[in-house]
């Protein structure tokens, strides 16, 4: 068996090229936005609905009802068998917040804060450091879940409609959020940074908060191997949910699982299903989930309890506090790949002074055209 590891940033390019050449892999581990909304919708994937009986569905739905719906098309086809999930969040440099007296605005017990407190914290940080403390990064699509969550949560805006058929960026609450962010000293719409760059700047201490964060970063910031929950200079990193008016935000979820490319070979499909069953629903699932460093999407796997597998890891256990804030998994909306370009381009244009309403209208129009 040949295994190839692809980066998220351009992995889809490679798979798209392989599909075009007719040599796509038999099995792939990815998220619903690509397995379901892209390759599944285009007819390249095998329907895995027969792998999920009522027990499986209950075990998954008991963790989060959104997982299975994200892996399933409107007509009931399952193109992703889910294995792990996480909630994307943001992070703050606690030492910097303390120095600026901004830690008073954080609920460190629950890892939440309100929009009002977020604004006050940025003001305090800017007063202390006199420079950009948080970047609305928009150099590309990398890490765009962070900027989406920031804008949507600030005043309760939405990204898509409830049935995931259209993008709703012109929601008045999104406009208000963008206006607020644009007017804040200390927050910069930075077209030279993408998500990965922002993490690096945060890790180096240049930025005092990062909007692109999750448990993998908390365990190993910037992938640098210099210690969990620490910047390069040893400052403490605290993960936070995104600020919202009530403090109870809607976090973006990440769901990863397996899909099978339909290459017309029934024997290979059967073998792939056996592999998926072994990884996602057997006594070995514990190892798979722990290797992924994320959270299980189900309560039990063939009788093995998965609910307490991170009890031995204080950081993972603490992070579970964010899981109840998992919001709608709207990444399965049609035109997902195309709209990502429109989103970061829109942020760039707004950051460079373009009229907010007309820019949103144009870019959202392009995204919705791709969604038809």
């Amino acid at each position: 068996m040949k295994v190839e590891y692809l980066a998220y940033a351009d992995g889809d390019d490679k798979v798209n090229t392989a599909i075009t050449a007719g040599n796509q892999p038999d099995l792939i581990m990815e998220g619903p936005e690509r397995l379901v909304a892209n390759w599944g919708a285009a007819g390249y994937m095998v329907d895995l609905a027969d792998m999920l009986d009522d027990t499986d569905k209950k075990e998954i739905n008991d963790v989060s009802a959104g997982v299975l719906s994200a892996c399933t098309t409107a007509d009931g086809k399952v193109y992703e068998y889910p294995l792990v999930m996480t909630a994307h969040c943001m992070a703050i440099n606690l030492n910097a917040f303390k120095e600026a007296g901004a830690d008073q605005y954080l609920d460190l017990e629950n890892h939440t804060w309100t929009t009002e407190n977020f604004i006050k914290a940025v003001e305090a940080l800017y007063a202390k450091y006199g420079q950009t403390v948080g970047a609305v990064y928009c150099a590309g699509q990398g890490g765009d879940q962070g900027t989406r969550a920031l804008v949507n949560n600030l005043y309760g805006g939405t990204y898509t409609n409830a049935d995931h058929t259209a993008y709703t960026w012109d929601d008045a609450n999104n406009v208000k959020a963008l206006e607020t962010l644009l007017g804040m000293d200390g927050i910069d719409f930075d077209a030279s940074l993408a998500g990965g760059d922002e993490i690096a700047k945060f890790y180096q201490g240049a930025l005092k908060m990062a909007f692109c964060w999750n448990i993998a970063q908390q365990l190993d910031p910037n992938g640098a191997g210099t210690g969990a929950e620490k910047t390069v200079t040893g400052d403490d990193i605290v993960f936070m949910s995104f600020p919202s008016e009530t403090g109870a935000s809607q976090l973006q979820g990440g769901i990863w699982g397996f899909g099978i490319f339909d290459k017309g070979d029934a024997a290979k499909v059967e073998a792939a299903k056996k592999f998926i069953k072994y990884m996602c629903d057997s006594e070995h699932t514990v190892d798979a989930v722990k290797t992924a460093n994320y959270f299980a999407v189900r309560t039990t796997a063939e009788g093995t309890d998965l609910s307490g597998i991170w009890a031995d890891n204080a950081i993972m256990a603490e992070y579970t506090k964010l899981m109840p804030y998992l919001g709608d998994y709207y990444q399965v909306t049609k035109g997902w790949a195309a709209q990502r370009t429109e989103w970061w381009t829109m942020l760039q244009e707004i950051g460079q002074g373009a009229d907010i309403s007309s820019t949103i209208a144009t870019r959202m129009g392009n995204a919705n055209a791709a969604a038809k």
Partner: protein, 304 residues
């Protein structure tokens, strides 16, 4: 009658030599046909269709619709404008700078000349990713060396977001392109200037010609083939600017180029109807512009 066998032998010999010649060419010819000629025709054919990753059926012939759509596509027109800006700025500056440097160093002693050749050629042989990453650090908005130096010198108060500001980012990319493009022309010009017929130079000097007259009347015509080669190669390289855009800006901050747009349309906008056909149409348009500009350069050089 006596001449007939001789002619027949000569023809046989000629045929054998021809066959040998073609056999020697065959390996290159296979690659040239397989990787240049066939893809070129495929590209032209695909540009006339709605070829798409999502449709597994054969693409439909749609005539010149893709080309008509291109001229209404603001993103493509913006990319075309940037591409021309890069070509118009970088081709003359690369040629002029490399000629100036080569003129200054070609008479130096061998070890010094070799050292200069190495210095100027270094960015060419260094991987484009490595070069780009180093420039990215230099341009950094937060702790880049350029911002630090400018601030330290008191020239700026606030950091400049070099790669995140439209109107600045494209010039930053042109500067990098310049540094990676001048190496080869300098080496070629040094060689060309070293091969200029010295007897003509000396004769002109004896006749009282000054340095400028010697250069433009004697040397310049003799290095014209080299200049033409440099012009064509630099033009093609500038038209095909891709890696710098991909690694630095992803086409943002008004730095999109046609080459980057082709990649983006073909492999990122896979939900767009007929995206392969559309990307191929961009490729055809780019090839036409390169061909026209190269032909103009050949014509001008021939007239000279």
């Amino acid at each position: 009658m006596a001449k007939q066998p001789k002619q027949s032998m000569s023809r046989a010999l000629q045929r054998r030599e021809n066959i040998n010649g073609y056999l020697f060419m065959l390996p290159s010819l296979i690659f040239f046909v397989g990787f240049v000629i066939i893809p070129m025709f495929m590209c032209i054919f695909m540009s006339l269709t709605d070829a798409n990753m999502r449709d597994q059926a054969l693409p439909h012939f749609i005539g010149i619709k893709n080309f008509v759509d291109l001229w209404k596509d603001e993103d493509f027109l913006g990319a075309l404008k940037n591409t021309f800006l890069i070509v118009v700025v970088s081709v003359p500056t690369v040629c002029a700078f490399s000629l100036w440097v080569a003129s200054a160093i070609y008479k130096l002693k061998s070890p010094v000349l070799s050292a200069f050749r190495c210095i100027f050629y270094l960015p060419v042989v260094t991987g484009s990713v490595a070069v780009t990453v180093v420039w990215k650090w230099m341009y950094d908005n937060y702790n880049g060396i350029l911002n630090t130096a400018l601030k330290g010198a008191g020239l700026i108060e606030k950091n400049i977001n070099f790669l995140g500001t439209p109107g600045i980012a494209i010039w930053c990319i042109i500067i990098i392109l310049f540094t990676t493009s001048v190496g080869q022309p300098i080496v070629l010009y040094v060689s060309a200037l070293g091969n200029v017929d010295q007897s003509l130079v000396e004769a002109a000097e004896v006749d009282g010609a000054n340095h400028m007259q010697v250069f433009w009347k004697i040397k310049w015509p003799q290095i014209m083939p080299t200049t033409l080669y440099i012009l064509v190669i630099t033009t093609i390289n500038s038209f095909q600017c891709f890696a710098l855009i991909q690694l630095l800006t992803s086409g943002g901050s008004d730095t999109d180029t046609v080459m980057f747009r082709i990649y983006w349309t073909a492999f990122k906008l896979t939900e767009q109807q007929g995206h392969f056909g559309y990307a191929n149409a961009m490729g055809v348009v780019l090839a036409i512009f390169i061909a026209i500009l190269s032909a103009v350069q050949f014509r001008l050089a021939r007239e000279k």
